[in-house]
Symmetry: C2
Subunit: 354 residues, 2 copies
DNA sequence: ACCATTCAAACAATCGATTGCTTTATAGAA
DNA sequence: TTCTATAAAGCAATCGATTGTTTGAATGGT
């Protein structure tokens, strides 16, 4: 199989009797090239099927139209939607997106950072692995003034762009909602506490209780390492066994909340009457599980789009690598049947379906 | 912000008094370089923090360790899992993965193909957009002997690798299952018929009916353009209105099946007694919806891994671009409560939960 | 008619690694 | 000791585009 030879700017140059530099500038609509010349060159380029070699362009200009993205796992509803937003927005700006996943492991994250660095990406979007506490592996990007945007799971101690939601406020409001429904013994499924999102959600939970003068019962706060559905079922079983079992549950994600609901139903605990539940993320399952799960919705797609925006802006302003800018997005408490005790504000069925 | 200068093989050459070619070969463990020399060079490279510039390498060698992937949308459980499999397998082989989504539109697919071509990917994995019927935009890759693997939604008329499931058999077996449960009026939610997966699933459905001498009722076969949950609810409403309303439903995906279940419940139709339902994909919602949804499971992650495998094998064997190899994977009919009428084989609750 | 501007396009170096070919050094054979 | 085979390393071209600096031509003002 012989490969068809590529058409390069040199071929165009020969064909048109212009110099390669003129061709290059014409193709990029450079102002120092005459309008008719540009037209002519672009026309012939199309006819001959010229396609720019962006590898060569990257090498010479030391800029790359590729953005790297590192997340723990791409196949969660939240992350895949965020990445979808990144990709759509990146494409609009003429960028490609390279993905890589750490599977929650620090070592993988370091390896991935190296690989992305080697491919000379023009920007990096990161949501940290659960395990990660050190951020040294991101320094190399900063040293080359490659913008880094941390999104959702962000480090404490690294100067750069951040796109996050107000986890504290969300945790506070979710808990407050349960209190408003009359719950007094509210449990919490908390994730690893060195991860900002789980840490802040828990803080919000604690402060909401305190504000309402509800004593905090350490037995009701359970740390789930991975916040999986399975861990949620297990934790719920534990909660149902203790003397003073809870009448409310704020889970830091939907998966664990669904696990809890399934167990509660299995054990004959009425939801929301005997146990009001609220989750976090508004995963698709939340509106399908029965009773439908109250939750906090995350603007996943928008977070992705804004992350790209930060990277593009960075190149324009060239403020240098020491910028640190936080973009904080609003969340929304979505009330469904799993937490709605007061029948006078009951939700129409349709809303629960769609 | 001054960027730290990169360490290149030239810097190493100067430092170590070797020629750049020796450095290059040493770093790639080329056999024509002495063992001690390799050790020495690699040691110093590490100390000086040398990082290969894969852009430069790609340009020169005209090979790229980057694989492109084009799908309709990355944020579905099936696709995000498949991509996750691709990424994991690619990383193991030292490849990066660029993603791009068509949002089901042909024009976007063409644009994406151009962009990926321009970045000189080393291989391409594609799941077609619903709209796509022409495949001319993939020719450019073939002409340069860049391997293309079509996965799941594949074209009829393009010679290349395919990784698919046996949609016909799956559709047949899913329908057969409903027949075995005693259904005689079985409806089908079908997707766009020029898309192979939906076409074959429907064929399987039709043949299963025929085999059991059940007359096909055209009114019971509904085409859903996007197979969304919403379309599923709509279609179900329609089905409930016709005279001879169905006692079974095979939906070509889970989302539409869930929509149907929600409507059926709303209208007081008992599932599975009055309507047995089976979906396709085994999305997470399938096991959560009530009653839990029978479905056909798709080995998403494995499909991703095998796709990468095909690409790697291609480079090794260099059979040229005219190869056409089909990898067909097994599916599994998963029986849950939405279709299980016979109480003697009822499913334990635990299985439904986890 | 002359010099100063402005505009268009060309020249040539450069980005960092790869690789076919050549040279040099070393060892073994005769 | 001389010659050949082999291993180790160097030379220099190359991949395709970008870009600072020059050159050349055309325009305009006086």
């Amino acid at each position: 199989m012989k490969r068809k030879k590529e058409v390069t700017i040199y071929d165009l140059a020969k064909e048109l009797n212009y110099s390669p530099s003129t061709i290059s500038r014409a193709l990029n609509n450079h102002k120092s090239i005459g309008k008719k010349t540009i037209k002519e060159i672009q026309k012939v380029a199309n006819e001959l099927g010229y396609r720019p070699n962006s590898v060569a362009a990257s090498l010479r200009s030391n800029k790359s139209k590729t953005i790297g993205i590192m997340v723990a796992r791409i196949n969660s509803p939240f992350m895949s939607t965020l990445i979808s937003g990144v990709e759509d927005a990146a494409k609009k700006a003429g960028y490609n997106v390279i993905i890589s996943q750490s599977n929650e492991l620090y070592d993988n994250e370091v390896t991935n950072a190296k690989a992305l660095y080697d491919s000379r990406i023009g920007g990096l979007i990161v949501s940290l692995a659960m395990e990660t506490t050190s951020t040294d592996h991101f320094r190399q990007f900063q040293e080359k003034d490659i913008p880094i945007v941390f999104v959702d799971r962000v480090p404490k101690d690294f100067n750069s762009y951040r796109v996050i939601i107000d986890n504290y406020a969300a945790g506070f409001r979710a808990t407050k909602h349960l209190i408003d429904q009359g719950c007094t013994k509210i449990a919490h499924f908390a994730g690893s506490q060195h991860v900002n999102v789980y840490n802040m959600r828990k803080k919000g939970y604690l402060d909401a209780l305190e504000e309402s003068n509800i004593k905090i019962d350490p037995e009701l706060v359970i740390n789930l390492p991975t916040m999986s559905l399975e861990e949620g079922t297990e934790a719920m079983r534990k909660l149902l066994k203790i003397d003073n079992s809870p009448d409310g549950l704020f889970s830091a994600n939907d998966a664990a909340a669904v696990g809890a609901i399934l167990v509660a139903k299995e054990e004959g605990v009425k939801i929301p009457e005997e146990l009001a539940v609220i989750g976090f993320n508004d995963d698709p399952v939340a509106s399908i599980v029965e009773p439908s799960l109250s939750t906090v919705s995350h603007p996943a797609r928008k977070m992705g789009e804004l992350s790209i925006q930060r990277i593009l802006d960075h190149s324009k302003t060239s403020l240098g690598s020491s910028v640190s800018e936080i973009t904080m997005l609003d969340t929304e408490v979505i009330i469904r049947n799993s937490s709605l005790k007061k029948t006078n504000e009951s939700i129409p069925v349709k809303k629960a379906i769609v």
